[in-house]
């Protein structure tokens, strides 16, 4: 059945790389043409599988960076000791074929039709990728949901999609906090997200906001606890933790 999309089944299929867009010195966006793509929702992810000549397989999950209706894209951060990301960011070329399956996930998703409440998006590093898909979906569907993005990054050079986030959008506020280094004259925030910054940036709980928090485990737990402390109900704080682990087959 491999290669055949069966309704309800999640099958590996061959996608073709159509474009590679360098985003930062460590990250690139890879755009695919996927013949049997059933469509995706903002916030979902996909699995990529690489098979070596000796049959060894490595599988990794990546958040989908594009909005529903756009070509499938992922943004990959190169991990120095990674097994998969160095190949994806350095070797892969347009025209190459790659195995993937998706879309995956139904929890960490935003629905422009039913979710109208203010959106609080909190990203740690490349955790911004699914949140970018949500923001693009919001823009493309003309959603009236106001959005705030709180984006924690090591340095300004590590901020992914910066040009896109800085395009004027009256419904969107973006707050960066730079944890390791700040450029001369930086007037934004510095240091990790703490309760004081959250209290300042987060919509008041009384507005029934919906929060999406994505990043490394420590970031997600600090932000999610902070939001619950501000009165956000647990069910209104959707979290996704990522790390360098992956399945091996």
């Amino acid at each position: 059945m491999e290669g055949t999309a069966v309704r309800g089944r999640l099958t590996w299929q061959t996608a073709t790389v159509t474009k590679i867009i360098p985003e930062t010195p460590r990250t690139s966006t890879i755009v695919f043409e996927v013949p049997d793509w059933p469509g995706h929702r903002a916030g979902q992810h996909l699995d990529v599988r690489l098979t070596a000549e000796d049959g060894y397989r490595a599988e990794r999950s990546y958040s989908i960076a594009s909005a529903p209706g756009e070509p499938v894209a992922i943004t990959v951060e190169r991990l120095e000791d990674g097994e998969v990301s160095p190949y994806l960011t350095e070797e892969l070329q347009p025209g190459d074929a790659i195995e993937l399956r998706g879309p995956i996930g139904g929890y960490f998703v935003w629905d422009p039709v039913t979710d109208h409440e203010p959106l609080l998006l909190a990203a740690g590093g490349s955790g911004v990728v699914p949140l970018r898909a949500i923001l693009r979906n919001r823009e493309r569907t003309g959603s009236t949901a106001s959005a705030r993005l709180l984006y924690s990054s090591r340095s300004l050079a590590d901020v992914i999609y910066r040009e896109e986030f800085e395009r004027p959008d009256p419904g969107l506020d973006v707050v960066y906090t730079l944890t390791r280094s700040q450029p001369p004259g930086w007037r934004g925030r510095a240091g990790r997200v703490d309760d004081a910054l959250l209290a300042e940036v987060a919509w008041p709980a009384g507005q029934n906001p919906l929060a999406f928090v994505c990043g490394p485990t420590s970031f997600v737990e600090a932000v999610a606890e902070g939001l619950v402390g501000l009165g956000y109900p647990q069910a209104r704080v959707k979290t996704e933790r990522f790390g360098a682990t992956g399945g091996r087959q």
């Binding site: 309800g8 999950s61 995956i104 929890y107 490394p216 979290t239 990522f242 360098a244």
Partner: protein
């Protein structure tokens, strides 16, 4: 290694259960804590995939793959309800 959460095994769960399961609701057999599968604590660096309760850390599910077959242990779950 830092644990991840149930979002990370959406593909594996779909393979095993034949449906999207990260938004399913699981109940811990030890402490009765109920929440979305996406919120469980997941260790993927063990030989298999280990899923623990976010409230009491009890073992909920274990998945191991051998010769293209999954061995699945769900004894730690009192209930698993898909939408």
């Amino acid at each position: 290694m830092n644990p991840l959460d149930g979002n990370a095994i959406g593909g594996l769960l779909h393979e095993v259960f034949g449906a999207e399961m990260t938004d399913a609701t699981g109940t811990c057999a030890n402490c009765d804590f109920t929440g979305p599968v996406a919120q469980t604590v997941v260790y993927m660096d063990a030989p298999g995939t280990v899923v623990r309760c976010r409230n009491c850390s009890s073992l909920l599910m274990v998945f191991a793959k051998l010769h293209e077959r999954y061995c699945v242990d769900l004894r730690g779950l009192a209930a698993l309800e898909a939408r």
